[in-house]
Amino acid sequence: MSLRGRADGAVFWSSLAIGLLLSVIALPPYLLPFKPFWLALLVVYWSLEAPDRMRLRTAFLLGLAGDLLSGNLIGEQALRLVVIAFIVLRLRARMRFFPMLQQALVVLALLLNDRVVMLMVRAFQGTPAPDWTFWLAPATGTLLWPWLFLLLDVARIRGARAREN
């Protein structure tokens, strides 16, 4: 585990960097409501697979970076990611052995819960409630989850093999 853990470093940090980049990348306006919460997906993956890396602290700092990049209220994404990381770290023992479909459903629940947290923050901030398209992004996130999971798994296995050779 520790050997594999060290090999994961490059994949871990580059996935976070790409996630931050994806969260501000330009999309055509009609795709905007579908934009998934990339950082949340990454936090879920790494809390499942490498809980010694993705701790609450990491999730918090990642969220801060996201907030600074997206010009958000500072602390908003940090809060949301910490909540997600906490739930996943708690459910980790069970969730790791779920079949993919069930795992995707858990991710959907997490993302929906995240939207609720976001609404609460927005309500305190005094912004008016968004329309129904607000709830589309969790669906995209769920659909993307299996692919992201596979992609990161493959990247990590490749990384480990490269280290052995």
């Binding site: 520790s2 853990g5 931050l20 980049l21 501000v24 990348i25 330009a26 999309l27 306006p29 905007l32 409501p33 934009k35 809980p51 010694d52 890396r53 701790r55 609450l56 602290r57 999730a59 918090f60 969220g63 801060l64 600074l68 990049l69 997206s70 010009g71 958000n72 209220l73 500072i74 602390g75 908003e76 940090a78 809060l79 910490v82 909540v83 990381a85 906490f86 770290l89 708690r90 923050v121 305190f124 901030q125 912004t127 008016p128 968004p130 329309d131 607000f134």
Partner: protein, 319 residues
């Protein structure tokens, strides 16, 4: 990082994923949010971080840049000629309209001199480009490639060729953040051009709609009415096109109507915009010669003719 390596953080050392850890981080996040929302204490941090964010924005905008470049390369000749013809036509129309405006501006100058009016509507504009970066889908904010270095200040109005786009809210060294008039948190004082009724157009959160709640029934607002800025409040210069009324329906109280307007500007994100420098801010400057009256300089190829007829503009005569 092995599991026992977290001794360096004494605060939540063993309790990182415990409930205590969660509470600690959540409280920290809430404190940060409140500090940011209320006190704007974190502006300095934001400004520092913005320097680091520059390259990220550059990278994030790369796909959009590449697709535009590819489009320019691959677009065929006929489309280009067509586009050219269309632009020519529009230029002609715009020039005709400008010529008429010149006459009106001239008349306006004379009338104002008669009235000895102090506030003069001088507009100076600066051309900027929007950066293709999504800040957040539910807040309509965009980045502009002009910053404090180019003399941009918070509160300045921004328009494109058709109408008002938004307002500068935050200025960094080499770029600034705009709030669009369609942002749910934005409001712009407007006037119905036909009747002179003053109202406030709120952003609706949708990219193609402004909402005007609480218009009296008796005001007789109709579908198709043009909205222009009223200039009240000083944020936006008066008379800039804002939008067109798209629908009018009575609200629940049946004493007011709520109208929905389509913004005049194209709110799509990329493209060039004008940042307006409102000359009225220099109040009391009695010697402020009218540099140019009417549409912004950068929009008016026919500007010199206007200045030749206006005596207090020696610069125009020299051209």
């Amino acid at each position: 990082m092995p599991n026992n390596g977290n001794d360096a953080s004494p605060l939540f050392a063993d309790a990182d994923s415990s409930t205590l850890g969660l509470v600690g981080w959540v409280v920290l996040a809430v404190v940060l949010m409140v500090a940011d929302h209320r006190g704007r204490f974190l502006d300095a941090i934001r400004r520092e971080a913005a320097v680091l964010a520059g390259p990220v924005y550059w990278l994030a905008a790369a796909p959009a840049r590449a697709s535009r470049a590819a489009h320019d390369l691959l677009v065929d000749r006929t489309t280009l000629t067509e586009e050219n013809a269309q632009l020519r036509e529009r230029l002609l129309l715009a020039e005709a309209r400008l010529a008429r405006l010149d006459a009106v501006a001239d008349q306006n100058t004379r009338l104002r001199e008669l009235l000895d009016a102090r506030t003069r509507l001088g507009l100076k504009a600066q051309l900027g480009e929007l950066i293709d970066v999504d800040l957040e889908p539910f807040r309509h904010r965009v980045l502009l490639d002009l910053g404090a270095g180019e003399g941009v200040a918070p509160g300045q109005a921004v328009m494109d060729a058709r109408g008002v786009v938004g307002q500068v809210v935050e200025v960094l060294r080499d770029r600034s953040e705009l709030i669009l008039i369609t942002d749910p948190g934005h409001a712009i004082p407007v006037r119905v051009a036909r009747t002179g009724l003053r109202a406030i157009a709120y952003g609706s959160g949708e990219i193609d709609a402004l909402s005007l709640p609480h218009i009296p029934f008796s005001a007789g607002v109709r579908v198709g009415d043009e909205l222009v800025t009223s200039g009240i409040g000083g944020g936006f210069p008066a008379g800039l096109p804002v939008g067109t009324i798209r629908s009018v329906e009575p609200d629940d109280s049946a004493t007011f109507v709520r109208a929905i307007a389509t913004p005049a500007a194209s709110m799509a994100r990329s493209g060039e915009v004008l940042v307006l420098h409102d000359e009225r801010l220099r109040l009391g400057a009695d010697d402020a010669a009218i540099e140019f009256t009417g549409p912004p300089e950068a929009l008016s190829p026919g500007a010199p003719t206007a200045q030749e007829t206006a005596p207090p503009a020696p610069a125009g005569g020299a051209r």
